[in-house]
């Protein structure tokens, strides 16, 4: 049982990682092709905080050490739902697996992620030891010990993360002590439709439901007439209502992370543009320009991909609905552009909305126009092959970065 459960969990984790890699393939292509030198530079520096901590007094050292541990354990936390899916959790809780085997499996799965990360840390540490800077020489043994300890702690934290997810939740009473609903009332969005169709008021409806509580009581027709007799209203709930129910809510509920992903990308784009305009001395403005271009393009690209997948999911379900679904799908695609429109508006406000302070208004306008065209192209050119789409997004990121680098010249 022990080996089979461990094997099962490892196979599940590998499968999840493979699926995750496939889902990220196009994004990784953008990032690696466009920003490979920056990524490799960051990888080379990944062990720096841990090594540098050894030169600091203990409060700062502790902060750096804790940050290093959190950073190294973040991948397992972010991937926890994929590494141990809810459906598998529900099913496997009833299996006669000893607690020791569960801990072993969690540790092994955590090692699957922390292991390759350790290799990256080892490479980075080797680079710093090869560079042998003055500040490292007197504290090299302590720095190495701190780095190793941070990785071991990250492994432990990752194992605890997986074990915490797998625990059987305690039975909880509802926090709300409100009584169970005794009648159904349509929400405001569809209530207008109901009123337009001449429906009975809620008080009458509640009375009808109360009268029907005994099974077999034929109140349905007595209270409301025969089916099909209600007059058909000419208006229906608007498309924005259906968009909210079918495209907004699913991205925020259950284990769907699209809402969070898009929020982070939006926040990243807005922050990058803010920092780009603020021009802090320690980071070259061109880097912020690249960050703004990358996050703005990924914002629309990822959003459009999520909407396309949701449309594919809805098509068979909504095929029989009395709803012009093609119009709804077009609206959903159009709404994909809204976050990027907010980013462009933010850029316009910071550049065109005030007096030029050493930057070019013309370059800002060119950047805005090109960014707008690129966003529309991502959503409009849906028949592009995967490679074509990667080319479009990478090309747009590079051109936007190039235009942006001229903003302050």
């Amino acid at each position: 049982m022990k080996t089979s459960y461990l094997r099962f969990r490892l196979r599940l984790a590998r499968h999840a990682l493979l699926q995750f890699a496939v889902s990220l393939r196009s994004s990784l292509e953008y990032i690696l092709l466009g920003f490979a030198p920056v990524i490799f530079g960051l990888l080379a520096c990944v062990a720096l905080p841990g090594l540098f901590a050894a030169t600091q007094p203990w409060p700062e050292a502790l902060g750096l050490f804790a940050g290093q541990v959190m950073l190294a354990s973040a991948p397992v936390w972010l991937l926890r739902k994929r590494l141990h899916p809810a459906a598998v959790l529900m099913w496997s809780r009833t299996l006669p697996v000893p607690a020791r085997d569960k801990w072993l499996a969690d540790a092994a799965v955590a090692a699957l992620i922390v292991g390759p990360l350790t290799l990256a840390y080892a490479t980075s540490t080797a680079i710093w030891l090869y560079q042998w800077p003055d500040w490292l020489r007197p504290v090299a043994p302590q720095a190495l010990l701190l780095t190793a300890a941070s990785l071991l702690l990250a492994w432990l934290l990752s194992t605890l993360t997986l074990a915490h997810r797998a625990r059987t939740p305690a039975a909880q009473r509802s926090r709300h002590n409100r009584a169970a609903p005794s009648a159904y009332q349509p929400s405001c969005a569809v209530r207008n439709t109901a009123n337009a169709a001449g429906m009975v008021p809620p008080s009458v409806a509640a009375t009808a439901s109360g009268a029907a509580k005994a099974l077999g009581e034929a109140t349905a027709y007595g209270a409301a007439g025969a089916p099909g007799s209600a007059s058909h209203a000419s208006s229906k709930a608007g498309l924005p209502y259906f968009w909210k129910q079918l495209f907004w809510l699913p991205f925020w509920r259950a284990e769907n992370v699209v809402g969070i992903q898009q929020t982070l990308l939006l926040a990243g784009a807005i922050a990058s543009i803010g920092a780009w305009m603020w021009r802090p001395a320690i980071v070259p403005p061109a880097l912020w320009a690249a960050g703004a271009a990358l996050t703005t393009m990924l914002l629309t690209d990822r959003g459009d991909k999520a909407v396309a997948e949701q449309i594919a999911l809805l098509r068979p379900v909504a095929a029989g609905w009395p709803l012009n679904t093609e119009r709804l799908y077009r609206l959903a695609m159009l709404f994909t552009l809204l976050p990027a429109a907010c980013v462009l508006a933010w850029f316009a406000l910071l550049t065109l909305g005030r007096q030029a302070d050493g930057y070019s208004h013309t370059v800002a306008i060119v950047w805005l126009c090109f960014a707008a065209i690129a966003q529309i192209a991502v959503v409009a050119l849906r028949r592009l092959s995967t490679r074509g789409r990667v080319g479009l997004v990478i090309g747009a990121i590079i051109i936007l970065t190039a235009i942006g680098s001229e903003l302050w010249n």
Partner: protein, 201 residues
């Protein structure tokens, strides 16, 4: 009230199901019989507009499913599937969605059906937390309340408790409903309803 299917052709990949199939049904209950894989559910989906035939015509009350798809679908409801199709919604949101889709739905009648099926306490639950029987009851409560002329019910008694089966039989036998609706249902067991037609696939 009439459902007419003429010279229908439909096949799944390398598996023909219907070839030049024709059918004409009037108001009342029609029992669609057949062994597993005979095409009962597929026929319901074709009649509901959820699947598109390769060729052939389907009319409901002289409304052509191809010429006026929205008007056709507004007059029919397909009640089937044992798993939630929109798992992110709550029961209340699911009901709201259908009220939005079918203007003219009678709120009082829907309340009566929900009460009769004991679904009121589940209104704020996610649909994924419903049991198989509760999910079926939610679909049936909608089916019995929506102002449609054609009801397509796939295995209506699956997962229902004894009381609910009796209630559903009573609802589907009500003379007013039989006069005003065309009910096409599949069932492996005798539905024990006043049948207008029995169709063997």
């Amino acid at each position: 009230m009439e459902l007419r299917i003429e010279q229908l052709d439909f096949e799944y990949a390398s598996h023909p199901l219907f070839q030049q199939y024709s059918l004409a049904l009037q108001a009342g209950v029609t029992w669609l019989r057949g062994e597993n894989g005979a095409g009962k559910t597929t026929l319901l989906k074709l009649a509901g507009g959820a699947l598109t035939p390769h060729s052939g015509k389907i009319w409901l009350d002289d409304i052509d499913i191809h010429a006026q798809p929205l008007a056709y679908r507004l007059r029919c409801y397909y009640c089937g599937g044992d798993t939630p199709q929109l798992p992110w919604l709550s029961v209340r949101e699911m009901l709201d969605l259908h009220i939005g889709l079918y203007p003219g739905t009678d709120e009082a009648q829907l309340n009566a059906q929900l009460a009769a099926f004991h679904l009121m306490p589940t209104l704020d639950q996610p649909v994924t937390t419903l049991s198989l029987g509760q999910h079926k009851k939610m679909q049936l409560a909608l089916a019995l309340s929506l102002p449609v002329h054609l009801l397509l019910i796939d295995e209506p008694f699956n997962g229902l408790d004894v009381d609910a089966v009796a209630y559903l039989r009573q609802q589907l036998s009500a003379p007013q409903r039989l006069a005003s609706q065309l009910i096409l249902l599949t069932s492996h067991l005798d539905p024990q309803l006043p049948l207008t037609h029995t169709v063997q696939l």
